[in-house]
Amino acid sequence: MPGLGTSFGRGGATTFQQDLQNSDCILIMGSNMAEQHPVGFQWVIEAKERGAKVIHVDPRFTRTSAMADLHLPIRPGTDIAFIGGIVNYIFETDSWFREYVQHYTNGPVVLKPDFQDTEEGSGFFSGWNPEDSAYSIETWGYNRSSGEATAGKSEQQADVSGDQAHGAHGMKLKGGQPPDVDPTMENERCILQTVRRHYARYTPEMVAEVCGCSVEDFLKVARAMAENSGRERTSAVVYSVGWTQHTHGVQNIRGASIMQLLLGNIGRPGGGVLALRGHANIQGSTDIPTLFDILPGYIPMPHPQSHPTLDTFVELNGPDTGAWGNLRAYMVSLLKAWWGDAATEDNDFCFDYLPRINGDHSHYAMMLKMLDGGVKGMFAVGQNPVVGSANSKLMRLALAKLDWLVVRDFQQIETATWWKDSPEIESGEMRTEDIGTEIFFLPAAAHTEKDGSFTNTQRLLQWHHKACEPPEDCRSELHWIYHLGNAIREKLKSSDDPRDRPILDVTWDYPVQGPYDEPDAEAVLQEISGYSADGSFLDSYDGLEADGSTTSGSWIHCGIYKDGVNQPARKRPHTEQNWIAHEWGWAWPKDTRIIYNRASADPDGKPWSERKKYVWWDSEEEQWTSLGDSPDFPPTKAPGFDPPRNAKAMEAIAGDKPFILHPDGTGWLYAPTGLVDGPLPAHYEPHETPFVNPLYAQQQNPTRQVFPRPENVYNPSDGEPGAAVFPFVLSTYRLTEHHTAGGMSRSVPYLAELQPEFFCEVSPALASERGLEHGGWATIVTSRNAVEARVMVTERIRPLEIQGRQMHIVGTPYHWGREGIVKGDSANELLGIVLDNNVHISEYKVATCDIRPGRRPRGKERLALVEDYRRRAGSNA
């Protein structure tokens, strides 16, 4: 989540859902919260009951819109322009929170003279290198500083972009002080003025032209946000994948962060940017990642060339001020947790044992490589790419190139059964007997059948206890990975090959219990939490040492087993504590529910207002105190603390700098490092779009990742010949009744019956234009494939007026596939692979398509139909 990471320091929601009840205005945008996070949505309802204004900006009128005071439909993929318009409005009406901005953001910092904004570069920032299709970020830095390129990664090439995006930990700043600061913020080159200029062209009229809403409606939203922010009031922004699944997804979140910083809404009750995460544990799976490019706690994965030693790794990755200034302690403690006694000062704490990344191994990169025969085997554990990933056909063609595939799941999901009944079998493109992939299906235990934790959307870990043993051969992930590890170690036992040392030396000694030798999940939690030199449990990452005397499997989780107590298992009921419910579960870091909460007090440490009181400086006790949350600040650092010139790490954070993960302790209106596509958000059109970019000559995000090849053909976009063949905007989304790729819902009777068939939502206008009948069938076509869906004609979908044309949306939920109780075509058959280069997320939310009445042709004729479209459009491979 580099959008939040670069803006505030940590890649997690800044607040928690319960806190929404304190908001005076909630802007839900790029999220269908009521449908996808219904339990958390109760706090939005609660806020509404207390008088808050709830606004939903979404291309479709959804169950969230139904509860909102105002629903505003906009064209998918235009949120940067919309939020940009609000930022511009904030400047135009002078509604920004001056004192907050001055003390808590990098607004006063002066930029380098050679930085060029998009204004001068027709859509490009300075540093664009057309050969590599990448930016060199030297010119983006703070004036008179120089560390950005190293800290932000010198390797800007697209193929190794991941870690520098995630590890947005900032540049080196001596004593945590940017060298050139103008507290009046009047300097033309200071960030505040740069931001103001950048957004000057995002006028209400421009917003209307780009987004397809009226100027008045836009102004209602802008006004509501401005009026409900300041000392007395706070507004919150809620987003999820309606913002992230774009070729400029990260910049959507940056835009919201800038707006919230200007309005003084971060770190305060009722404020914040609430990222609503996906799967029950998706936040957990980035914190202690299942990603290829980071280590636990967002420590970057080392590179083969630039990180030969631990010292260089720390030197090149860490700003030395702020919380990241202790990177060495975090890293050494991690290595000690993993390799125990084998990790010593002399062998660099086994730093060499860590794998190195030498390329983009993200999901799509891997699948494309697989398609080219470059991957031999795959474990699909808790994932169903044949339904969930863009371009389903490409997924299947790739899987067919594997030697072996292991699928661990509850049921025979499509990723395990494509070999027998996929559309390619039906069309004759594949024959079962020709497929060489050997497929193993391993039944998985469900969460009720194993101990463990979920990290939910607000960084909160909650422990679940096993209710019963898993049936038959079903086993937990922990069981599988632990015993698989043992089997491998057994085989390697007598090896003296040095490359086997990491596996043989790893600490792999979890106690087992029960009839199936289930490893003790609490033992894993204890390892994650970490131990001090005397073997006692650590309280927090402040206690981690760089000398190898402490261990911690994830520094941000350090203290999760504080006092020998499984903190996530705390379940004190809400009736026995206040609304913060601090004794329910445990949130990283240090059990903090609103992070950066130092910002809820003014620079002197007093609450901004009585109504919005949360954390404040108790001058008698000389410490930070709060309504019941952990202060996200050194507990006894006085508000007036001024760090010495040579201070390092936390010592370098001044008493009025709440964003302690950033080297300068500020929230970043402008992100000098951390993002591949620019320090400020700029509106670019989606990869496939029926319109031209009215803001810049550059049509699309120049850094987006495209993979043109015969299996991944793109529709031509506006301006290109043949674009009219795919005149409509296709958008995909979820329904409350199903879950993602459907493996967990299409197979559950009670859910299956609620949404039994794949359908598309279209406006009455589009229906009459294309002869679509409510309740009948439609065929949706792109250059990738054609699918059939039942037709839902509804006024909830509205055509928008854009650039003098009517824009029609075809909306489809993406949950269906060929297995389960209810079956249907998958929306992902339609989408091509095109990614945001910061995080390699696919543009699921926008593409172009055509729609026609009736069911799709079967077998070979489906191919012929798609072929015909491609020919007419001149689709580009």
Binding site: Q21, R50, G51, R611, K612, H774
Partner: protein, 321 residues
């Protein structure tokens, strides 16, 4: 898209789940009930030929009736669940007891009439069967009208008379058909009188139904109604004209009348389905009732308390909870 006066045109109430056995049961029950009365009265008058045959049709009707019921219920034991309780609020409960009682009494009476068995018991059983036969013929109307099905419920004053008429005509018809014409005068009077009454009460019921009468003019209900009218009219005419002379005419006329009474039950039965299936029959009259100010007020817009004065947003942060 929803229609504003209903939820996608879906029914508001459920159609009955009853199957074909139920109108058959209504018919056989009515036939048996009135036949028992006819039998006992004829006995009193000394018309033993007629009486014995009437007892036979009463017994016949009462023998088949429970079979229909059990067939509808699924298994015999389920019938006995009915006799766990006696509830006046449930015409079906009351009816079950009537059916049981009258079945018992009629059984004894008929056996006595044909074989001379149970001489003593039958002294009570005969009048009991005759008396129980009357509500046996009309409780089925109570059963239907005591539901939420508008076309039935709105006929709560008249349907019983229609059913009684049907019972009379069918009992008469059966006796006419079974009895040599010279002993069957009373049966003929009953058959023709019942038929006339059927026509009249049907008309009265329709008039009283208002908009609900529509359902009798459509679908299966309409078909059965036409059949019924035709059969009743022709059956009655045939009996009136030739019933006295010709045994064949008597049999044919009786059969026609019986068929007419049966079709009438089917018409009523089917009307209930049509009435339940279309929400307008539920909603429109209730709406009118509200507009006339005769509603008991299922909805209310005015609160019984006054709204508390609320200052802007009490933040959760300030009240500790």
């Amino acid at each position: 898209m929803s229609r504003s006066d209903s939820y996608y045109g879906q029914p508001v109430i459920k159609e009955p789940t009853w199957t074909w056995e139920i109108p058959m049961y209504f018919f056989t029950g009515g036939l048996a009930g009135a036949s028992a009365g006819l039998a006992w009265l004829s006995e009193l008058r000394g018309d033993d030929e007629l009486a014995r045959r009437a007892w036979a049709s009463a017994l016949g009707g009462l023998a088949i009736s429970p079979l229909f019921l059990i067939s509808d219920l699924g298994k015999p034991s389920r019938f006995f669940n009915m006799l766990r309780v006696f509830k006046v609020t449930s015409p079906m409960s009351v009816g079950s007891w009537i059916l049981s009682g009258s079945g018992l009494a009629t059984g004894v009476a008929a056996a006595n009439a044909w074989t001379g068995m149970f001489p003593r018991t039958s002294r009570v059983a005969r009048p009991a069967a005759a008396v129980l036969g009357l509500p046996l013929s009309t409780y089925t109307a109570a059963l239907l009208t005591n539901t939420a099905v508008p076309v039935w419920h709105e006929a709560r004053g008249s349907l019983a008379f229609f059913f009684a008429s049907g019972a009379a005509s069918s009992a008469g018809a059966a006796a006419v058909a079974l009895t040599p014409p010279k002993y069957a005068a009373a049966a003929r009077r009953l058959a023709i009188g019942g038929a006339v009454s059927e026509a009249v009460t049907n008309e009265v019921m329709r008039r009283g139904l208002g908009m609900h009468a529509e359902v009798y003019k459509a679908g299966p209900s309409h078909v059965f109604d036409n059949i019924s009218r035709a059969c009743v009219a022709s059956g009655a005419a045939l009996i009136a004209a030739r019933g006295r002379q010709s045994r064949a005419a008597a049999i044919a006329g009786g059969a026609l009348l019986g068929a007419g009474a049966l079709a009438a039950r089917w018409s009523v039965y089917k009307a209930g389905f049509g009435s339940a299936a279309d929400p307008k029959y539920v909603v429109a009259p209730q709406r009118e009732r509200i507009e006339r100010g005769e509603s008991r007020g299922a909805t209310r817009r005015d609160a019984k308390v006054s709204a508390p004065r609320r200052d802007l947003a009490t933040p959760a942060t300030s009240d500790g909870r």
